[in-house]
């Protein structure tokens, strides 16, 4: 047995762990979680669009209630959080690993000649989205979650939210989006998301090994459409709400 073979044999921790800790395995995990989060983005957007219904927030609140109480959704949301965390943790591991693979940087480099910046800046774009996510969670989800339970009586949503009796989720969102700074931050984050998706969506398929002369152009088109339409849908809501307040 040569040195090569020995080295490979020595590091064996069982096929599954080997697979998932290999460079390819880690990438596939990133892709899998990423694609799941894309699905989540669609569901979440459908909900958010309820905000635009001119009913004083009834539809949206009902939606929020449904999402917050349905056991199936609850399970999926746990999965969703797990995936978000995995996506983040793996991205940190991979980025560290990738940085270690080049201990000395080039003195002069022209990466724009061979690749587009959004593909190289996934970590930076992702970080913006992460910050957004934290703010978003603290602001909406956190406030809602921390105070929501116990206020539902016999399936009827009591219009009592948080410490003030008047507040419900629609009002919370409406209040937030009447602040121009919040709107701008939201829109900027959605732009970051758009770029993140424009590479991430098609990249995931490549990672899964789905690259074919016939289908790859389609995947790319769908990817770009997704990367534009979804963040655009999200971004329009605060803009409209701000404009029509």
């Amino acid at each position: 047995m040569s040195s090569t073979t020995q080295k490979i044999a020595k590091d064996k921790k069982g096929w599954f762990v080997d697979m998932m800790t290999s460079t390819i395995g880690r990438k596939v995990l990133m892709a899998l979680t990423g694609i799941f989060l894309c699905l989540f983005l669609i569901i979440h957007l459908i909900g958010n669009l309820q905000l635009l219904k001119n009913d004083g927030g009834t539809a949206f609140n009902e939606y929020a209630h449904f999402m917050g109480s349905n056991p199936l959704i609850q399970t999926v949301s746990i999965l969703n959080f797990t995936f978000i965390i995995l996506h983040i943790v793996y991205s940190i591991i991979l980025t560290r690993m990738n940085m270690q693979a080049r201990p000395r940087k080039y003195a002069y480099s022209k990466p724009a000649a061979n690749s587009n910046w959004r593909s190289r800046k996934m970590m930076a774009l992702g970080s913006i989205i992460l910050i957004f996510l934290i703010v978003h969670l603290v602001y909406f989800w956190g406030k809602m979650k921390l105070t929501h339970y116990g206020l539902v009586e016999e399936g009827v949503l009591v219009k009592k939210f948080g410490t003030t009796d008047q507040l419900h989720l629609y009002d919370l969102v409406n209040a937030a989006f009447s602040d121009i700074i919040m709107v701008v931050l939201y829109v900027v984050s959605m732009i970051a998301l758009a770029f993140h998706l424009s590479h991430g969506f098609q990249s995931a398929f490549q990672t899964f090994g789905l690259n074919h002369v016939k289908y790859t152009p389609l995947i790319k088109t769908v990817g770009y459409a997704f990367a534009i339409l979804i963040p655009l849908g999200y971004a329009l809501i605060p803009i409209i709400m701000f404009a029509t307040k």
């Binding site: 047995m1 040569s2 090569t4």
Partner: protein
């Protein structure tokens, strides 16, 4: 010294089979008791190292490059011949044998050539099994193309990168053996001497090119698969690192050097563009399948082309001299390399050259593109056209290529017997490093065939015959002979290290040597020029040892030092080439003596006088080498004046 070629008795077609039966075998269990050193990892070396390791021998393989995959076999473009007769066009082992002997102008050993033709078919099988992606037809079967010097299509190819694909095949087989632990691979290690113990080759001394350490390696046999010596000319199609040091050092230790004057000048290379040129680029001669070679009919027209007043495409059909087609109607543009080269030289000497320097002829694809369409031509030669475009900034789809002959291959090399053993017991030479199969001229697509034949299918048998007679005992590398050789190497290096006061660089000396060789020992040679060249080389060599400038130390990565060691050996080998060219006052194949030509200016052999292999024995520094002759006997082909008309 009596040269014994050890060619087996019996009818030509049965010699190899009979020999395989007659020679001794090493018991499978005993093979692991023998160590074999393989120097060079090209087609011959890579194939030999892998095959011997598969048999069970312990192999140590060496290359000066950073990886065995970079040996210069990789640059071969056109293809590899094999007598498969897949095209049903009348090919056979005997025809390949016959074409090769004839192409070599009857200066090769019949038995070796026949063996080469026999195993050629196995090579293709072997390479396909390794996953070499040869070109295929739509039905899924292998495709063939025709090549110079043959009237059948027997050349297998992988686009214009056949050498690369075959080498990567051998490299993969080698890699597999490295993984299995049967081959120990030493990269960036250059062999600087052969070590002899009790009259047998028992090891080598190498310099580790990374840290400059001098290391010894011991074995039961040493295989030199180190390629040719075309870089004596400085400008050649060889890689920059290709060198003759290993072969030359073996020569100095007693291995005779055969036919050093047989060099092949390849007709289709990109012409020299200036004094800065470091190497020449070959365009596969497969281009001659579809390209037509021509020059303007008159000097006046050529002059206009040279000065840029007239464009090639504007020259009328009647004013174009397709000299190969006119002169050799049967073979046309597909005449053997030496004939094509010499005719290009004659056209240019006649004042009809077409580039600024007047040292180029046209290779025109206009008619082929008209006939077959651009797509088909692009599919066949796309990468070559692209390469030409990159180097010259001219688009060969639109204007004819300009080509000129350049040194490409050396048919001469270490003398070997039928078993590929040199005159030093236990020291073998394979591939281009030996002299055996191509005579005075090599046919296209035969170098890959020979390298792989030697490595895959000859040496694995013949080495057993020698090893079976050897005791298992290993020689330790602290043996006095190893220590002596190491010391000699260190002394040689010490002579150059620290010569920072020199007046001229290694490259300057090398260029001068190349100029002398090209001028007097190139495409056409004569007594006067060769005599002059011999003296010039001797003077240059003396000057070189006195005035060459070398920077850096010996215990470090030092490319100047690597170069100076190689050029020092070229300086000695160059003189031997001239000696050999002087001695052989006939013309044959790539060796054209102006004194010996037919009325039509074709090479004229003198079979009565020169039907022999000239094998030279080293007699000491600055001493005249001694000539030994191995008579060539032809029992199966009739010697005729080669004619491609």
């Amino acid at each position: 010294m009596q040269l014994d070629s050890k060619v087996p008795e019996g009818p030509l077609a049965e010699k190899w089979n009979k020999h395989k039966f007659d020679i001794k075998l090493v018991n499978p269990a005993n093979k692991r008791k023998y160590d074999v050193i393989v120097v060079g990892t090209g087609l011959a070396g890579g194939a030999a190292a892998a095959s011997l390791a598969e048999l069970g021998y312990n192999v140590k393989a060496f290359c000066f490059q950073d990886s065995p995959r970079r040996a210069h076999s990789i640059a071969a473009q056109g293809g590899i011949n094999a007598a498969k007769n897949y095209q049903n066009d009348g090919d056979s082992v005997f025809r390949l044998f016959y074409d090769t002997v004839k192409g070599g102008d009857y200066r090769s050993r019949e038995a070796n050539v026949h063996r080469l033709a026999e195993v050629s078919v196995n090579i293709i099988d072997q390479c396909v099994a390794q996953g070499v992606p040869f070109a295929r037809e739509y039905g899924g079967l292998l495709d063939n193309r025709s090549f110079g010097g043959a009237q059948v299509s027997r050349t297998f190819y992988a686009r214009g990168q056949t050498g690369q694909q075959l080498l990567l095949g051998a490299y993969s087989a080698l890699s597999r053996q490295v993984d299995s632990g049967k081959v120990k691979m030493y990269t960036r290690s250059e062999m600087l001497d052969l070590v002899m113990v009790d009259g047998k080759a028992r090891g080598i001394v190498v310099r580790n090119l990374i840290n400059g350490e001098i290391e010894s390696h011991s074995a039961h046999a040493v295989l030199l698969c180190t390629g040719g010596y075309g870089n004596v000319f400085f400008l050649s199609t060889n890689a920059m690192g290709s060198n003759a040091t290993a072969a030359w050092r073996a020569h100095r230790k007693g291995a005779l050097f055969a036919n050093p004057c047989y060099t092949q000048i390849h007709p289709t290379c990109i012409p020299v563009s200036g004094g800065h040129q470091s190497k020449l680029t070959l365009m596969s001669e497969s281009l001659r399948n579809d390209g037509r070679v021509w020059v303007p009919r008159t000097k006046e027209l050529a002059e206009k082309v040279r000065s840029g007043q007239l464009k090639a495409n504007d020259i009328k059909e009647a004013d174009r001299d397709y000299y190969l087609e006119t002169k050799y109607p049967a073979f046309g543009n597909l005449v053997p390399r030496d004939v094509a080269s010499r005719n290009a030289k004659m056209a240019c000497d006649d004042g009809r050259g077409v580039n600024k320097e007047g040292q180029a002829v046209f290779l025109d694809f206009r008619d082929a593109i008209k006939r077959d369409g651009k797509d088909l031509i692009s599919a066949k030669y796309g990468n070559l056209f692209q390469m030409y475009h990159k180097i010259t900034d001219e688009n060969p789809y639109e204007v004819p290529m300009k080509i000129y002959p350049a040194v490409h291959y050396t048919m001469g090399g270490l003398w070997v017997d039928y078993n590929l053993m040199t005159t030093v017991p236990g020291c073998y030479a394979l591939g281009e490093a030996n002299f055996s199969d191509h005579g005075a001229n090599r046919l296209g697509a035969s170098a890959l065939m020979q390298g792989l034949a030697d490595g895959y299918f000859v040496i694995p048998y013949t080495i057993g015959d020698y090893l079976a007679r050897m005791p298992y005992d290993k020689v330790a590398t602290d043996h006095p002979e190893f220590k002596k050789a190491e010391q000699e190497v260190k002394d040689r290096i010490a002579k150059f290290v620290g010569k920072s006061e020199g007046t001229k660089t290694v490259d300057e000396f090398h260029k001068e040597l190349g100029k002398i060789m090209w001028e007097y020992c190139g495409m056409a040679r004569n007594t006067e020029g060769l005599t002059k060249a011999k003296k010039m080389i001797q003077e240059l060599r003396a000057d070189f040892h006195k005035n060459v400038k070398v920077s850096g130390g010996d215990k470090e990565f030092n490319q100047t030092l690597e170069k100076v060691m190689r050029v020092a050996d070229f300086m000695e080998l160059g003189e031997l080439m001239v000696d050999d060219a002087l001695n052989r006052s006939e013309s044959c194949g790539g060796h054209f003596r102006e004194e010996s030509q037919t009325d039509e200016g074709e090479a004229k052999r003198k079979d009565d006088e020169f039907s022999y292999v000239a094998a030279w024995e080293y007699k000491g520094e600055n001493q005249q080498a001694e000539l030994h002759k191995e008579a060539l006997e032809f029992e199966n082909v009739k010697l005729t004046q080669r004619s491609y008309k």
